[in-house]
Symmetry: D2
Subunit: 394 residues, 4 copies
């Protein structure tokens, strides 16, 4: 059998944009013995995490926690609120926006995708005006929901969700606003209530620093209202049973108990450090990463400086270089995992995650690995990115 514990000597540096490295404290928590999910101890745990997670979403309203991946939480958001054939307005910000759209199509929704030629859409965030314009045209309110991605994991571009909300309101349109905050939650500023989001979708393996296996839906009263009339078939994902059982800290299905132990610990860690401090740390690390890219003379996939991600950064390589070949070399030589280019930027970019349990030295280690790897791969670099990042972090 595979020897799970085998590893090259020394620390592995996991700098993909998620899963992010799971702190030892959380790994220890998930190795606590599984308990009866109908017993009194579980009820206490359930109430703690259901209450605590609201602070991370910055919401007063319920958050449903599925034993499932973020993809499942995408599906849950749609099937709970929409009916077969409903029109959904989506926006091509990158690979995950495209996948969410494909998922909506498979579920029998009609999707309209604000898309762009080539990789143009992948280099900028959502333009709220485009959404407002489309909604104004939709005088009959055929569009039932607007779905956008907050932090596009595939591109390192953040969209202004509050502005999207204002655009919808300005158009006087009743569509629900659904947001994928999978990679942004807990690592980039996010405000479910203040920004008027109806459903926020998230996952465990990014800013929450957990292994994958939990999916989240934060639900506004308006979304809850919509769910009463929505006719897409739903059972596993149905909010109603969750909201009912969660009241006492229990789940309608068998919960992923051990990941909930980890979530309990993660909430304690994030609130212990202070959510604002956590977000500020991500901002500092993101800036340092971009300073390195500038110093190298390479290009950030994200074009607009006001939309750069504090979570991850996609680095465009000169055309002659295969980013996946570079990543392979770096993994083998330096025990550093970087994110692959997805979809339209396959082979063109590599992505550096700087989220979750990341600090200055882990990032500098990762940038060192990139720097040495690119030199070995023959990519011309103008100057040391590590030195630039150090200056930024000083």
């Amino acid at each position: 059998m595979l020897r799970l514990d085998s590893h090259p000597s020394g620390q592995h540096f996991l700098h993909i944009p998620g899963p992010s490295p799971v702190p030892a404290r959380i790994l220890r928590a998930i190795s606590f013995q599984t308990i009866d999910h109908r017993g009194p101890e579980f009820g206490q745990l359930g109430l703690k995490v259901l209450e605590g997670i609201k602070q991370i979403f910055r919401t007063q309203h319920p958050v449903v926690i599925y034993p499932a991946s973020g993809t499942g939480a995408w599906e849950a958001a749609l099937v709970n609120t929409l009916s077969p054939g409903d029109l959904v307005l989506m926006y091509e910000t990158g690979h995950f926006a495209s996948l969410w759209r494909k998922l909506a199509d498979r579920l029998g929704l009609q999707t309209e995708f604000i898309s762009f030629p080539g990789i143009e859409g992948w280099r900028r965030g959502v333009d709220p005006e485009r959404i407002a314009a489309r909604l104004r045209e939709d005088t009959q309110h055929r569009i039932k929901a607007v779905c956008v991605v907050h932090n596009e994991t595939s591109t390192g571009v953040v969209s202004d969700i509050a502005a999207v909300r204002r655009a919808i309101d300005a158009a006087g349109h009743p569509a629900l606003l659904m947001v994928d905050a999978v990679s942004g939650l807990g690592s980039a500023e996010y405000r479910h209530d203040d920004w008027g989001v109806d459903v926020t979708v998230a996952g465990s393996q990014k800013g929450l620093m957990l292994p994958p296996g939990l999916g989240f839906n934060a639900i506004s009263p308006k979304a809850l209202e919509a769910s009463r009339l929505a006719r897409l078939p739903k059972a596993f994902w149905a909010w109603d049973e969750y909201l009912d059982m969660n009241r006492n800290g229990y789940w309608p299905t068998t919960p992923a108990t051990n990941l909930l132990y980890g979530l309990h610990e993660a909430i304690d860690m994030i609130l212990g450090e202070g959510l604002d401090n956590v977000l500020a740390r991500h901002q500092r690390l993101g800036a340092a990463c971009r300073a390195a890219i500038d110093a190298w003379g390479l290009e950030n996939l994200c074009l607009d400086p006001s939309q750069v991600s504090p979570v991850s950064t996609a680095v465009l390589l000169p055309e002659a270089y295969d980013a996946d070949g570079l990543r392979r070399l770096i993994l083998e030589r330096y025990n550093l995992s970087l994110g692959t280019g997805l979809g339209k930027v396959k082979g063109r970019v590599f992505r550096i995650g700087h989220l979750g349990d990341c600090n200055a030295l882990t990032l500098l280690a990762a940038l060192s690995g990139c720097e040495m790897g690119m030199r070995a791969f023959g990519v011309p670099l103008k100057a040391s990115g590590v030195v630039a990042a150090q200056e930024c972090l000083q």
Copy 2:
């Protein structure tokens, strides 16, 4: 915050019919650092578990592993193979059969439930003749699937799946056979291929000795064929992307990596002990548990000795006693968790799990806890069940 590690002194005895106690070896495996689910190391892990799990299902055909609970795997079995309004024949063997039926209804299927007054159906397994009779009537083949539960976790009754298959064949009916083996897989004899099952549904937290969080679909060629025409909306659960990505050991969604580490370990443990040995051990433990019940002068919910479960046993209390009050007393005094009575037998039975990482002494400890607890609760006992169980195990 809740102190996860707090516990009453000494070992907790988890004897619900699942989650079963997770061996330390598996808990350690799931605490291995999360890795890149798109990297080469993951691919190796994926291929190992996808191949290994087939041996537990006793199938040559693909098994899909969802980052979800068993409930999700129920849904997956239905949405992949059926179309809106399809008629499904289900059979009331207990609480989980009833829940599966409810789930099918919610998904927009038409269900026909072979049901029984009172708790009559809950005390016996599936009568294949009832199914055969119904199928013979269905000359137009409106019934698209027959769904039965293999080991009813709520009752401790095992149904003869091979006989159900024979009944369907004898009726010359093309319906798919779908089986819930959630609590039976790895603890009671189960043969996906030999028994001609089309979709077997399973979960991680029973005989596989893992925490909850993985759901399984074992898929026959006929089920796969059916999935090409099935029109229930599906995206997260869609087999097609799984089968495509699994070929190289990868997942279409973010997999529950850490639980897959645990699954790898569980497969190694089960095949290391020998699947037949594992099943024989469960048989011995089940027999010992029933010997205790006989000695106490209490009644097994399961009426037919040929249908008793090697996985768990439901004990009927005399009417005057509230089974949940008894369970509470036992938990508080003896640190022993027993299963609650579900649905129609709420308050009437308690359930003893003897599955997974269970051996003679853990069972005897649990039976001691039951015995002392019942005495303290005033339940009249004829003789010591522990002594009877010891004799049985000797």
Copy 3:
């Protein structure tokens, strides 16, 4: 290589009189990453455990914690307080008293052993009058120390330490009183200050529920005074450097950091449950174990009911039966480890540990294993010990 994680199915029952089973909570604590033992975080940890451990010893005076086994702590007690050729009065209560005496001899001390023919001394605790008589004879105070074992792990007999103190005082003798409380600390009543003990020796792997690897010396002011004049060579064990460094929470040598994490957790668990509650639990479990032995019609090695140990019990087998053969059978069939007969009672007794993280059901499981094992081995039993133990625990 040996696969450390391989194990027979199900829970292993470790019922030797130490090491006792280590709770998962402590195992998790010792797997926390090692830190700089000269850094500020360590200093805090050091102060916490050095202060906390005093409450377990019930002392106001310093306790030194060695990165060593209990044997090392025996040596430390002697080399810190005595000079070459000093006369030490020791008392044959069993195997560990004999080993301590042997160790004293090897260190160049002159030992006088109050010993007994055959196993007579092994069936009773210290007779304080024997000590008083000897001390009264020693008018020239040649005897520098009286060394006795509190809970003889090899026999399950507890000696009355307060009475020994009174005997010394009654004799008006200045000898130091040194006590081996290795297996009694944290499981049997023990009062370092109230009982006037000068040096108490202890280890981590018994009532403290830790893995082996820490040795303890609790030190009275009189012992500290004696250490200033003592001339046995000492360096690693020298108290002076410890007492100096411990003031700020540090160690003169590299401390066993990870076991100190465990100790921190153990102290938290014991004080959380309440030391008196912990001791009362051990009393209950010891009584239940003895009830089982009575029911079986077997003999407790300990003859005096006022001296029975709440920590472990040694069961005398009828002469025809080899206790080690029985233990082997029980280990193989039931995954239960029992203590072997040591020294003079080799092959005659097996020992049941009921200490540390033990509760009613683990003890009943162990007694079930003994009962089934003895039947399989042909040992005639009068009645079920498990039933008797249950009654006792009810």
Copy 4:
């Protein structure tokens, strides 16, 4: 109570010259449940580690493993081979040589210390000619042992042990050669047999990547012979009982079972990577660290390029800067622990460990932390040490 698990966000970088960071794989191994140290499973484990460790020492002869720190192993080497008042020749290479000498004095040996004014001796390794000269003078063979430190942890200087052996032989002197290889074993080339060492002293928390708590003596036949006549009192440390019990894989005292699990894993890791590969990796990392120091324009405490340590490097700060103040700043800002200056170089140097489970990126992270820290502390740096180290590692 102290919350052991609390930590600043992100990975802690432990770059003291030991304890070195313990790999997760070893931390998991030491959290395996403690077993009966007299049972059959332990015997297998014991034989495995006792045999495996010989390969790390490169010896065919026995290695004794104490449940104690390296200081204990120093004591063991002396008390097993020497008699009260014996003359021992020691050599001032730094702090640990001085401590060993002090320990020898406390044990009643007569020590002669080849020492140097100021920190002169701390900047070079042993000069074998000095030893040869002294031994030639000792025509009556009053010197019973020559004790030297292989890798001086306090200075980052390696001494040529083979040359010391040649010097002793050239002098035709029968003194035993005892070597402290605590920080060198498993990280710097070391050959117990080939170099003719009589007793090698080692500890677990350096190149062996374990937590502290195990001490080692590798014993030549000549040392064993000497132990038969040696008259220093010894009991806990006595080799004879170890060698006797170890034959079957057992220990004369309670072994540190959980650390032995870790040792088993460590041996597997080292031999899996290949001992020569492990040593070559340390050489590369040491060279990179020195390249950084050169680039910074700072001075290595070690003056002789042929004596630089692959294990750790001591960096001399310009006089105006307090090295401990710098270390504090670096720990607080960058979560990086560096080694303090010890003894004669207190406040003058900081030490960078690059041993054990260390790789290129962890070292570059540590060097980044040093670089940023020194800038923040006002230490003038000529150029980026990280860039220089990268070039060296490329």
